[in-house]
């Protein structure tokens, strides 16, 4: 068939035209000639005559003149009034390019939608996770010159004994009091502690987030009030006089509706009245990232808030975070050498009375050091750094898959347009012009994808933050769109778009326009090198998806493992009530009887199956441990053991079976010999096969109690103590009835036959009657256990999401490559079918191609997964990252989906009409 485009090109040879117009003109006119030629052939004219008469249609000057006229009219006029000619014409052609690109994209809605969706998901996921990562890890706290802030704590805590109120290194009040009197290279040294305060009078407690701060806290940080004034040194005096409180901006707005007359009003904290003196600036939410605060009170209010558990002046209560600002001209090294030289004096002067003798030398030789604290402190940061880093890696992988997908789509598009560009180059269009047009298309895609991604990111990150928020951990993360990650992802997307959109221009410039025109793409077999890039991209996508799918399965299986852990007790239907009866001011000798009466009242209720007391909340992450040894083995056998003090019904309520001996009895009193019940892990560790009943266990001296002796009266089955993940710990249970120092706080464990809400209502009714002044906090054990797995649930959920996303993207990629290959090889397949190839062999031809790609991708993916597995092993429970089941299932699922996607073009190939296929150009 004659190449009518060449005819047109020749006819218009000396007519200069703009890039967009020329190709369209050639396309339209050559189409006309071709149809005319086909009609002539159909009416029986011989090909030679048909070509001649058709070519004759091009005689005459009229068309050439018309084209010139159109061109002259669209050329910009000289002497622009405002902009220089160059700028104006650039803007003109830019808008033309953009409109042309937009039209091109509109004409390929499937391509555009896929590309935009890929980009939006990739950019959205990356931005969302990075936002949280950034809010937790990177962003300085919103105070004056945060980079000057230093935190001072012990280099190591091996000499510390007593009660720990933070899972980071913190100081005691005597240490803080000594430190603040030193002259140091820091200004405005301050201390603070974060706690929860009850704002309700009595009955069910209403807790708010609180901070206790030293007088210099706000002034050192440079925080300003929006109303009234903030806590100053004059408010933090011994005894506290008239106690004051400062509200956070958020709490002022949410609890008081932003009332203008808040200053001077009184609020109740732990049943004490505090006078509100001001509201802090809106951006400031304390120094613990992710936690925020509602109310700030001076440290001197501690005795009012904590009553007899007041931590002021106690050398055994580790709770205060101490910070200060580095003085101008002082370096961190200078400050550290000052701290090092004052440490011996400070620790020697603060050794608490009755400190365990074995710990005193380590305490005396403890050392202080300063650490940069520009981004505050955070438990969330510690807990989520690993998972977030890993999730960020997964999000980046998804982004890479999305980019590979985009590259593939654009390559397919590019190949289709190579001929178009050759023609335009042949017509004299400048290469710059073509490149600019392609750039416009790439830029439009990247901009569209980025815009959609930006809409998606805040939704996703808000959802993630709300997912992290549990009843016991109020998470307040200030998640804002982060320009750095946005720029990064947009840059990545733009680069991909531009690079791969430019491919046809790069290819076109390599080819001789003339020869490109002659070869009509009607080769029998698509050349190998044309496919190589595309195949490589598809295989890469497969490999990355394999990694993500395996990760998804690993985390899901790990979560399932956690849910299936044998707790050793039955958590269903268990309600916890924390009861604070301190306002009743019962003398010590009446407290046990009072608590006992409460338990009996509860047990008498029809809906309540059983009730008991416990000091330790099961699976709370915390605990009480001391060194113990079996007397018959001697002190050399001393090992760490975990304790709980419980009521006699504890084991029945928790359904922990007794293995031998007895449980606690009413006869176990303060006046009878101290008894203990141990678990099987304790027996294994200390006694092996020896008979445990009757053995004497010694508990080492602690800062609060002298050495004690207990006789073992029973052994119970192992149960989890601190967390689901731990190995069974050696445990020792003491009897509540033998507590020589009973407190006014008690934790009641209730097993109820009622639903969670009804059970709380019922218990609250009973307890409010029995102890009208008490403050009670309720929690549901199964819910708490579920919440303790929030990190694992998040990992499983997000990795599954990423796995699905990756699979979908990779499948689209594979489908695209195979479909494209089919269109390029349509003649070949047509010939094969015409020559008698069966449908089966055509199917095999395409599927073989797919199998090769999938196999290569999956193999590389497995290798990568094995290699990267080490990084996630800490985040998995009850399995290794090389879990064969996860790897096998992951690969099988991915391969099955990929092959299903490949079957669609393969079946299409078998249904080809050979004649139509051969005719097609």
């Amino acid at each position: 068939m004659p190449d009518w485009k060449l005819y047109i090109v020749k006819y218009l040879e000396n007519t200069k035209m703009s890039a967009g117009r020329d190709a369209e003109l050639v396309e339209e006119l050559s189409e006309h000639l071709e149809l005319r030629y086909q009609d002539a052939l159909a009416s029986g004219t011989d090909p030679e005559t048909a070509e001649r008469t058709t070519a004759n249609e091009l005689e005459g000057e009229e068309l050439r003149q018309q084209v010139r006229r159109i061109e002259e009219r669209s050329t910009p006029q000289p002497s622009p009034p405002i902009l220089k000619a160059g700028v104006r014409s650039t803007l003109r052609s830019l808008s033309y390019d953009l409109r042309y690109a937009l039209r091109g994209l509109r004409l390929a809605p499937a391509f555009t939608a896929t590309a935009l969706l890929s980009l939006a998901l990739g950019i959205g996921a990356n931005t969302a996770i990075f936002q949280i990562f950034e809010a937790l890890r990177l962003r300085p706290i919103p105070v004056r010159s945060p980079q000057e802030l230093m935190e001072i704590h012990m280099i190591e805590m091996s000499g510390a004994r007593g009660s720990f109120y933070a899972s980071r290194p913190v100081l005691t009040d005597p240490q803080w009091q000594t430190l603040r009197r030193q002259t140091l290279g820091v200004d405005g040294l301050f201390a603070w502690y974060r706690d929860q305060f009850n704002v309700a009078g009595s009955g069910e407690a209403h807790l708010v987030e609180g901070i206790e701060v030293s007088g210099s806290y706000f002034s050192s940080l440079g925080v300003q009030p929006v109303l009234g004034r903030l806590i100053a040194t004059s408010d933090d005096t011994p005894g506290c006089g008239n106690p004051v409180a400062v509200l956070s901006h958020r709490y002022w707005k949410s609890a008081f509706g932003g009332a203008a007359n808040i200053v001077g009003r009184r609020i109740t904290l732990e049943k004490h009245a505090f006078q509100v003196i001001g509201v802090a600036a809106s951006g400031f939410s304390g120094l613990e990232v992710g936690r925020g605060f509602d109310v700030a009170v001076p440290l001197c209010a501690e005795p009012m808030l904590m009553g007899e558990y007041n931590r002021l002046n106690s050398g055994r209560d580790w709770w205060l975070t101490v910070m200060g600002r580095l003085k101008p001209g002082t370096t961190t090294e200078q400050l550290n050498s000052q701290l090092l030289s004052l440490s011996p004096g400070l620790f020697s002067s603060t050794v608490p009375p009755n400190y365990p003798p074995d710990a005193v030398p380590a305490y005396r030789s403890s050392k202080l050091a300063a650490y940069p604290a520009a981004s505050g402190v955070s438990i969330l940061r510690r807990d989520y750094s690993g998972p977030l880093t890993f999730l960020l890696c997964m999000a980046v992988l998804v982004m890479l898959i999305a980019c590979a997908n985009l590259a593939n789509l654009l390559l397919v598009r590019a190949a289709v347009r190579e001929r178009e560009f050759s023609i335009r180059l042949a017509l004299g269009a400048s290469r710059v012009r073509l490149i600019r047009q392609l750039l416009a298309e790439g830029a439009l895609l990247a901009a569209g994808g980025a815009a959609l991604g930006m809409c998606l990111a805040p939704l996703l990150s808000q959802y993630l933050v709300s997912f992290l928020r549990t009843r016991s951990l109020a998470v307040f993360l200030d998640v804002r769109p982060d320009y750095r990650v946005l720029l990064f992802t947009i840059a990545l997307a733009t680069l991909t778009c531009l690079l791969f959109a430019l491919m046809p221009a790069i290819r076109g410039s390599q080819a001789d326009p003339g020869s490109a025109l002659k070869s009509s793409g009607r080769g029998l077999v698509g050349t190998r090198h044309r496919f190589r890039t595309r195949k490589l991209l598809a295989a890469t996508q497969m490999a990355l998806s394999t990694v993500l799918v395996i990760a998804a399965l690993l985390f899901t299986k790990s979560l399932v493992n956690l849910f299936r852990v044998n707790l050793g007790f039955d958590q269903s239907g268990i309600l916890l009530a924390n009861l604070d009866a301190s306002s009743a001011k019962l003398p010590k000798q009446q407290r046990l009887a009072f608590r006992r009466a409460l338990i009996e009242r509860l047990k008498a209720e029809p809906g309540i199956e059983n009730a008991t007391e416990t000091v330790i909340r099961p699976l709370s992450g915390g605990g009480w441990d001391d060194a113990v040894w079996v007397e018959s083995k001697g002190r050399s056998d001393e090992k760490d053991c975990w304790f709980n003090r419980v009521g006699p019904e504890f084991f029945a309520t928790m359904r922990i079976p007794l293995v031998s001996g007895r449980t606690f009895l009413a006869s176990d009193t303060v006046n009878s010999p101290p008894v203990a019940i141990v678990n099987q892990a304790f027996v294994r560790m200390h006694l092996g096969s020896e008979e445990p009943i009757g053995k004497i266990v010694n508990v080492a001296t602690t800062p609060t109690s002298p050495q004690q002796r207990y006789s073992i009266v029973g052994v119970v089955r192992d149960a989890k103590y601190r967390s689901l993940k731990e190995e069974n710990l050696p445990q020792m249970f003491l009897a509540t009835s033998q507590d020589e120092d009973p407190s006014q706080f008690t934790r009641i464990l209730i097993r109820s036959r009622l639903g969670a809400a009804e059970s709380i209502r019922e218990t609250n009714r009973v307890l409010s009657e029995a102890a009208p002044q008490a403050v009670i906090v309720y929690s549901n054990l199964p819910e708490e256990v579920k919440e303790s797995l929030v990190r694992e649930r998040l990992m499983a959920m997000l990795s599954v999401l990423f796995g699905i996303l990756a699979t979908v993207l990779a499948t689209i990629g594979l489908y695209g490559v195979l479909s494209y290959m089919l269109t390029r090889r349509i003649n070949e397949i047509g010939i094969r079918i015409a020559l008698g190839a069966g449908r089966r062999s055509v199917l095999r031809l395409i599927l073989n191609e797919a199998t090769g790609l999938v196999a290569l991708g999956v193999t590389v993916g497995i290798a990568l997964a094995l290699l990267l597995g080490r990084l996630v092993s800490a985040l998995l429970f009850g399995m290794t990252p090389h879990d064969p089941m996860a790897i096998f299932v992951g690969c099988a699922v991915l391969a099955a989906i990929a092959m299903a996607a490949a079957t669609v073009p393969a079946i299409r190939a078998t249904r080809l009409d050979p004649i139509a296929a051969l005719r097609q150009e």
Partner: protein, 110 residues
């Protein structure tokens, strides 16, 4: 209306009237005119497209690229509202012209 104008005008009228019923691509317009006139009226590429482009320039018709499944893309032309008004004017003028001619011819023969 001068003779040359009339000639040009009638070609325009033909294109517009063919597009009045439905949108067509360039070759389809030519073909339709040929068919309806039983081959008496025919255009060639070099004269037809300049006409088409002028009509488009004047806003009487509008061309756009359309892609249909299984076909290559083609530039389809559709008549605009302005085009329809122009066609009506052409028709009225043409009817007057034909009536005038018929009257002249009939008058001489009567």
């Amino acid at each position: 209306m001068s003779n040359a104008e009339f000639k040009k005008g009638s070609a325009e009228m033909l294109v517009l009237s063919v597009l009045e019923v439905r949108d067509r691509h360039g070759y389809d317009i030519c073909k339709r005119i040929e068919q309806l006139s039983a081959g008496e009226l025919a255009f060639n590429v070099a004269t037809f497209y300049p006409l088409l482009y002028k009509l488009e320039e004047r806003g009487l018709i509008q061309g756009r690229w359309l892609e249909k499944a299984g076909e290559r893309r083609r530039r389809f032309y559709k008549i605009t509202a302005q085009g329809r008004r122009a066609l009506l004017q052409h028709r009225l003028a043409f009817d007057r012209f034909v009536a005038a001619v018929a009257q002249v011819l009939g008058g001489e023969n009567a």
